[in-house]
């Protein structure tokens, strides 16, 4: 229904563009320069007058009619609904809707059939009303617009203002997205923290949500002892640490070499190599980690007589490090190249070698930028999901042995949410709490990185 009306409005819009333009030419007579605005703007004016109010109504009505009608159905059966819990109520409504409009029904009974009948009725009425109102708005808008087209009318200003409003609206989407993220995360996390106290979450040492409930499907109070996030945080930090051990030196030295030592041919080859490494999707890295790196580490370790997990932190960290190398390298390269040549000249003129110049003058000058780059790389590693889902472990484990399996935050988010979810259980909501934690940490790190660069920026010049 929605799409049908939407399409119809689009057609009206297109038609009005043409009609409005024609009308303006008609009204102007032989001298079109009498018109303040070009005919196309008159067309736009008419189109906007005719369709925009109707479009607004369409959107608002479509969004609102669902919950409102749901509410009316619930009102009809208020006695029976008293006894049901929230999930049961939602299931009931879902089934009733499915009976009425087609879809998967779990089971049916008289009550649901009755509800379905009411649904069908209400929706029919609602749709009819909506269509009538929309048609009304279109007609009224069109007539007003049409009759007001005359040479002096400054339709161009009108249209341009409308376009500006549209542009502003688009800009605001970015804010809405952030607000949406923050709100949804906070909202669900608060629901989580009503079930599991926050200090259990932040300071608990044991993470095992699968064991939180006595049996499947039973509504039981979750055991707060098994929602401790510390092993996850430790796991994330450990893997990130290993990743930075690889990516930090390799990325930095590659950047130094490429910016100060490499010939143009070497740079022409090396930069694309790094760009390709950066462009490989993380799922491919994860596959590589699970297929090649982890077994290799396992076999080497066992050859040396060590016990190595097939999901060792070393494997996951190593591959994540490889993924981050181009990130560190390109950021560092930018920063190192930004150090003025005059400093390098001054150092060389004092009789220092190139490496001394780099080590003692260039790098210290570029240090804030490099530190910032490392922080951003750490932030990226912390938020990385696929590599660890495919190569790291699932069980919580507090250890500093890289040959054991640890589990990071992102893996747990995925594990908790993939598969059947009941949206109210502590298990599912725990994922949101973890997501909030992740979001806050990465945001803070990015903020710090920015501040580091800003604060120390006036070093030279």
């Amino acid at each position: 229904m929605f799409w049908l009306l939407f399409l119809a409005l689009l057609l009206v819009f297109a038609a009005s563009l043409y009609i409005g333009a024609q009308r303006s030419r008609q009204v102007a007579g032989p001298n079109t320069h009498v018109l303040h605005s070009r005919p196309s703007y008159h067309g736009g004016y008419l189109a906007i007058m005719a369709t925009v109010p109707a479009l607004g109504l369409l959107i608002i009505w479509s969004i609102a009619q669902g919950p409102i009608i749901d509410g009316m159905v619930v009102g009809q059966f208020s006695d029976e609904f008293e006894a049901l819990s929230l999930p049961e109520r939602e299931a009931f409504l879902r089934d009733a809707r499915a009976i009425a409009f087609g879809g998967i029904v779990s089971f049916t009974d008289e009550l649901k059939e009755a509800a379905a009948a009411i649904y069908e009725n209400l929706y029919r009425i609602s749709n009819m009303a909506m269509t009538v109102l929309i048609a009304l708005l279109v007609i009224v808008g069109f007539r007003r617009g049409y009759s007001s087209i005359e040479p002096k009318r400054r339709t161009r200003h009108f249209v341009e203002r409308a376009v500006m409003i549209l542009l502003i609206a688009c800009s605001v989407v970015a804010i809405f997205t952030t607000v949406g993220i923050v709100l949804s995360l906070i909202f669900e996390s608060i629901r989580f923290f009503t079930m599991i106290p926050i200090h259990n979450f932040l300071f608990g040492l044991h993470w095992s949500p699968q064991s939180a409930f006595a049996g499947a499907g039973e509504v039981v109070d979750a055991n707060p002892e098994v929602f401790g996030a510390i092993p996850l945080i430790a796991g994330t930090l450990f893997i990130t640490f290993i990743a930075m051990l690889v990516a930090g030196p390799v990325g930095l030295f590659a950047a130094i070499y490429l910016s100060d030592y490499a010939s143009n041919t070497v740079r022409a080859v090396a930069k694309p190599v790094l760009e390709v490494l950066a462009g490989v999707p993380t799922v491919v890295y994860g596959f590589f980690a699970a297929l090649t790196v982890a077994p290799f580490i396992r076999n080497s370790g066992e050859g040396l007589g060590l016990d190595v997990s097939s999901e060792s932190a070393l494997a996951a960290g190593l591959v994540m490090g490889i993924m981050i190398i181009p990130f560190v390298s390109s950021l560092s390269d930018d920063v190192i190249s930004a150090v003025p040549q005059s400093l390098r000249d001054g150092s060389l003129a004092l009789g220092s070698t190139k490496s001394e110049t780099i080590r003692r003058v260039v790098l210290p000058a570029a240090l804030p930028g490099i530190v910032s780059a490392m922080i951003l790389a750490i932030s990226r590693a912390i938020g990385e999901t696929m590599i660890v889902v495919m190569a790291a472990g699932l069980a919580d484990n507090l250890t500093i042995n890289p040959l054991e399996a640890v589990t990071p935050v992102t893996v747990q988010i995925v594990t908790l949410l993939v598969g059947d979810q009941e949206f109210d259980s502590a298990k599912t909501l725990a994922a949101f709490a973890l997501g909030l934690l992740l979001f806050c940490v990465t945001l803070t790190l990015n903020f710090i990185a920015l501040r580091v660069v800003q604060k120390y920026r006036e070093q030279y010049d």
Binding site: S184, P249, Y257, A270, Y285, G286, F287, F288, G435
Partner: protein, 615 residues
């Protein structure tokens, strides 16, 4: 060094450099400094080479795994698709649809192997072809009955493990040249084959070696178990030691831990006992020279091909084997050296997916020239399947396509519009600064958080369908938005003010200036940024997992609201399956994905090179 005639250095001045910098001590220092320089440079080169090495390793691993997946073996079997057997009363499609095509396939296969009689053997035989063969025949009959009905043979795909056999990936095999004359004692059942020469001796030695290697491995495992035992015992002691100092709660916890450890120790001890016994047995057998050896499924298989038949050895000594006849011999006549052969399948039967019988049956099919290798169209044209040989990426590709369309149609207009407003029109006040900071932050948020947003808002609050490219596209659009905005702003900024001034000078309004003059010039940069953003979105997996595009979808989606999956998620799902062919197909799918990405990035680079102007 000769001294330049010069007045002596003035008193109090730092001593003039000539001697200072050219002395032996200075020269030595210089050498050390240059050594340090060389080391530094070496690290730089090493870093670049390391990155290159990893890339090469990654690509070669994937490509190596992927190449076998591009071919698929088919076997042509005789089938009875006559009108009489399928639809005797000519009732048409309804009847044709219900025919038991599995039986058609089974009967066809069996007709080639008359000697296969037991139920187990028949099941083995049936397992050699894909379980989807029946479906394919049915599809052919229904799609084109006139052409298909009446056919006497049909090419069906081999099961994934059988396919691997013909790609040489089941096991290493060794053939032994025979010199002696071999005399079989029968043509069926359990027989002996005696050779006049010591043809079996080397094989016997091989088997002994194999036992030795197994013994080594058991020894290693034993050592590992013993280490675990030690550790557990140490832990128990430490718990016991610390217990008196702890409070009641902790003591209870420690007690529990000790109990767990003790249970573990019991298990370990039992384990160690078994392993020790096994080790002794293996060592004994491997070192006993020349005796008879019984071939179990844990040992390499030895097959003797003689007189048109195949015998699977169950015991072997230097001059003879005893075993079961798999393919009946034609005669018990002696075969001279060179006319019969011994084949060793190195990987023990227990560790293989394909047992000896299967290998032999497949060999027969190959010998009858019924096996053909074709380009793997299934991979490119089918949807997902749990059967490795039937799985394809087409469903995921279409899903990705729909998702990308949704992403592009949302992110591009929104992103460009926002960029235009922010760059050209927005007043420089707190609000716009806030928006800018916001956008930069969004660009750095982990992708999984966007997935959570999609789950909470799109699926839950708005009730949109799970697993649909529509929702996936919306989530990815939000992710790509900051990239497009930032790139577009940079492109707009790069257009020099003189263009704007020129347009304003002839009386264009601000909006007209931007839309008619600035935007077209900035378009190449905007498109480049968009393509790059889309390439990133194409490779995204985590957020789509959150919104459920991970279901098992067999049908190809036909609209953006049908449940589907995308290529990277398909790769993720397949990576979990153990079958070797799935591993290969995963790699092949990765290559397809990388091909798309490379194309998109190359397009962006070409666009940039061709249209970028240097103002």
């Amino acid at each position: 060094m000769t001294d330049v005639a010069a007045s002596p250095p003035a008193a109090g001045a730092p001593s003039q450099g000539q001697g200072l910098h050219t002395s032996d001590a200075a020269r030595k220092r210089l050498k050390a400094r240059y050594a340090s320089e060389a080391r530094f440079k070496f690290f730089g080169i090493a870093a670049v080479l390391t990155a290159a090495f990893f890339l090469v390793l990654l690509l070669s691993t994937i490509v190596g795994q992927a190449i076998p997946a591009f071919n698929q073996h088919y076997v042509t079997i005789p089938v009875d698709l006559s009108q009489e057997s399928l639809d005797p009363n000519n009732e048409g499609e309804a009847v044709l649809r219900r025919v038991d095509y599995d039986a058609v396939v089974r009967n066809g296969l069996r007709s080639l192997f008359p000697y296969v009689e037991s139920r187990g053997d028949r099941r083995t035989l049936g397992g050699l072809v894909s379980s989807g063969s029946a479906v394919r025949i049915r599809q052919a009959v229904l799609d084109d009955p006139d052409a298909t009905i009446g056919q006497t043979s049909f090419a069906v795909p081999l099961d994934d493990v059988a396919d691997l056999y013909f790609k040489g990936q089941v096991s290493e095999e060794r053939f032994v040249e025979t010199t002696g004359e071999a005399s079989p004692t029968g043509t069926e059942g359990t027989i002996q084959i005696l050779s006049t020469a010591n043809d079996f001796r080397d094989l016997l030695a091989d088997v002994k070696d194999f036992l030795g290697e197994q013994a080594d491995e058991v020894e290693r495992e034993l050592a590992s178990r013993e280490r675990s035992l030690e550790r557990a015992e140490i832990d128990i002691v430490s718990y016991r030691d610390r217990m008196p100092e702890e409070g009641a709660d902790r003591r209870e916890f420690f007690e529990d831990q000790v109990q767990i450890l003790e249970r573990g120790i019991n298990g370990l001890n039992a384990n160690i006992r078994d392993l020790t016994a096994e080790l002794a047995d293996l060592r004994a057998r491997s070192t006993a020279a020349g005796a008879d050896e019984v071939l179990t499924t844990e040992l390499p298989s030895i097959l003797v091909e003689i007189n048109g038949g195949v015998v699977k050895a169950s015991s072997i000594n230097a001059t003879a084997v005893e075993g079961e006849v798999i393919v009946p011999l034609t005669t018990t006549a002696a075969a001279s050296g060179g006319d019969w052969s011994i084949r060793e399948v190195v990987l023990p039967e227990r560790n293989r997916k394909l047992d000896d019988r299967s290998l032999i049956y497949l060999d027969q099919l190959a010998a009858e020239e019924r096996v053909e290798r074709q380009f793997n169209m299934i991979f490119f044209s089918s949807g997902a399947s749990r059967e490795a040989e039937l799985a394809g990426i087409w469903g995921a590709v279409v899903g990705s396509f729909f998702t990308m369309i949704v992403t592009l149609s949302l992110a591009f207009p929104l992103g460009v519009a926002a960029a235009i407003y922010l760059e050209e029109f927005a007043p420089k006040n707190r609000l716009t600064q806030l928006i800018e900071v916001n956008i930069n932050n969004l660009a750095a948020v982990p992708s999984i958080v966007f997935g959570l947003l999609g789950l909470a808002v799109f699926l839950n609050t708005f009730g949109l369908p799970r697993s649909a490219p529509l929702v996936g596209g919306m989530v990815l659009a939000l992710m790509t938005l900051p990239t497009i905005i930032i790139a577009s702003r940079a492109a707009l900024r790069a257009v020099p003010p003189s263009i704007r001034e020129g347009a304003l000078g002839v009386g264009a309004s601000k909006l007209q200036t931007v839309l008619h003059h600035v935007l077209p010039l900035a378009m190449p940069g905007i498109l480049t940024g968009t393509i790059i953003g889309m390439a990133q979105a194409l490779g995204e997996t985590a957020p789509l997992l959150m919104i459920g595009m991970v279901a098992f979808i067999v049908d190809i989606p036909s609209t953006p609201v049908d449940p589907s999956t995308v290529l990277p998620v398909q790769i993720f799902m397949w990576a979990d399956f153990p079958e070797v062919l799935f591993r290969q197909k995963t790699s092949a799918a990765i290559l397809v994905l990388l091909a798309f990405l490379v194309t998109m990035n190359a397009l962006a680079v070409i666009l940039r090179k061709r249209f970028e102007r240097r103002w």
